[in-house]
């Protein structure tokens, strides 16, 4: 368990500062992605959009919307990766707010359900 000092426990983080928040990061494998946009339509936070321009192979690859520098809307729920038919989406980093909202008994690494 993580023990935070009183000052860190009490401070409410600034939601739009990269140093105080850890938003999720999703990566899109541009080789496998077909640009169907199912992830954009399913995202609970509406935090994804397709690129404006087509890339070299004529596809529009999704990307994370940034509301402030280094700040996305992703909460690492994984809905997009479950919905993707091609398996092109991976969650690279989970969501964790800083200071007051910091999770105490979770680790940042993510795993699939394990059959014990």
């Amino acid at each position: 368990m993580l023990n935070l000092s009183l000052g860190k426990k009490g401070k409410i983080p600034d939601y739009f500062k990269e140093s105080q928040m850890t938003y999720g990061i999703v990566t899109f494998d541009s080789k496998v992605c077909t640009g169907c946009g199912i992830c954009v339509s399913i995202c609970p936070a509406r935090g994804l959009r397709l690129t404006d321009r087509k890339d070299d192979s004529g596809k529009k690859i999704p990307l994370l919307i940034e509301t402030a520098p280094g700040i996305s809307l992703c909460m690492a729920c994984g809905d997009c990766s479950a919905a993707c038919q091609e398996g092109a989406i991976r969650i690279k980093r989970g969501f964790n707010a800083g200071f007051f909202f910091r999770k105490l008994s979770q680790k940042s690494d993510l795993t699939l359900p394990k059959k014990y």
């Binding site: 399913i42 994984g78 990766s81 479950a82 919905a83 007051f100 999770k103 008994s105 690494d109 993510l110």
Partner: protein, 249 residues
């Protein structure tokens, strides 16, 4: 990512180490919240079957502190959606400090003070969602064909909200196992701040409404296992020996 692969599910009521999921576990692991629904209506008896799963949920002291309201009126749901947008615009005007430099300097301390008072309501995730709804980029009710309002009887035993939560999850899992998609919507709290909507939906004391479930046939296949955070679990074994284990690795 992991898609639905197993057809060789384990039978119920047995356990061997490392065996495949049984049907119940499979539904639990592969349930994803669905926010994309077909327009197709859901049959009344199917809804009744799902409500039945909720009726038999465990509650403290068998209090069953709930009341269900099923909404199938699309016009009403559209109206609720519109009202939610209006209300979130109103609320965000007071707290959104990410709009301009002036707000960042003068509004941020005030919003942080409010966050301390209502940490659950102004947590970054609902804050961002409210912002998105106010900007009309995200939907609150996802044009679902059916909505089940899960009213809590405040006079229940212990923590009635917890009982209602168990009841709701029973319904969600039952719905999922029947092929329907579902999603918990907590954003209805915004609507419940307005007495007009409380009266309109019949949410009167001793009942209160904090969560609802939307149901419908999913447009596409969204189910599958996802990655979740590794948990540090504390075990207290015999003789008070403590150890911390990483769960899920």
């Amino acid at each position: 990512m992991a898609k639905k692969t197993t057809n060789n599910l384990s039978p119920l009521y047995t356990y061997q180490e490392g065996m495949e999921w049984n049907p119940v576990e499979k539904v639990i692991m592969e349930r994803r919240s669905i926010r994309n629904f077909k327009k197709e209506p859901v049959g009344d008896n199917l809804i009744r079957r799902i409500l039945e799963a909720g009726r038999f949920a465990p509650t403290a002291g068998n209090a069953q502190p709930w009341k269900f309201i099923v909404i199938k009126d699309q016009a009403l749901i559209a109206e609720m959606e519109k009202a939610t947008v209006t209300l979130s615009k109103f609320l965000m005007w007071f707290v959104d400090y990410n709009r301009n430099a002036f707000r960042r300097i003068f509004l941020a301390p005030y919003t942080k003070f409010l966050t301390r008072l209502m940490p659950n309501k102004l947590h970054p995730i609902p804050f961002n969602l409210l912002q998105q709804i106010a900007a009309e980029k995200a939907a609150a009710y996802h044009k679902a064909p059916v909505m089940i309002l899960l009213l809590i009887d405040k006079r229940g035993i212990g923590d009635p909200a917890l009982d209602a939560g168990i009841c709701g999850q029973n319904m969600v899992l039952a719905a999922h196992s029947l092929g329907l998609g579902s999603c918990w919507i907590g954003m209805i709290t915004v609507l419940m701040m307005n007495p007009f909507w409380r009266r309109k939906l019949g949410v009167m004391s001793p009942y209160e409404l904090t969560d609802c479930i939307v149901l419908g046939w999913p447009k596409g296949d969204y189910d599958g296992e996802v990655e979740r955070e590794v948990q540090l679990v504390e075990w207290i074994d015999a003789d008070g020996v403590k150890r911390i284990e990483r769960l899920g690795v």
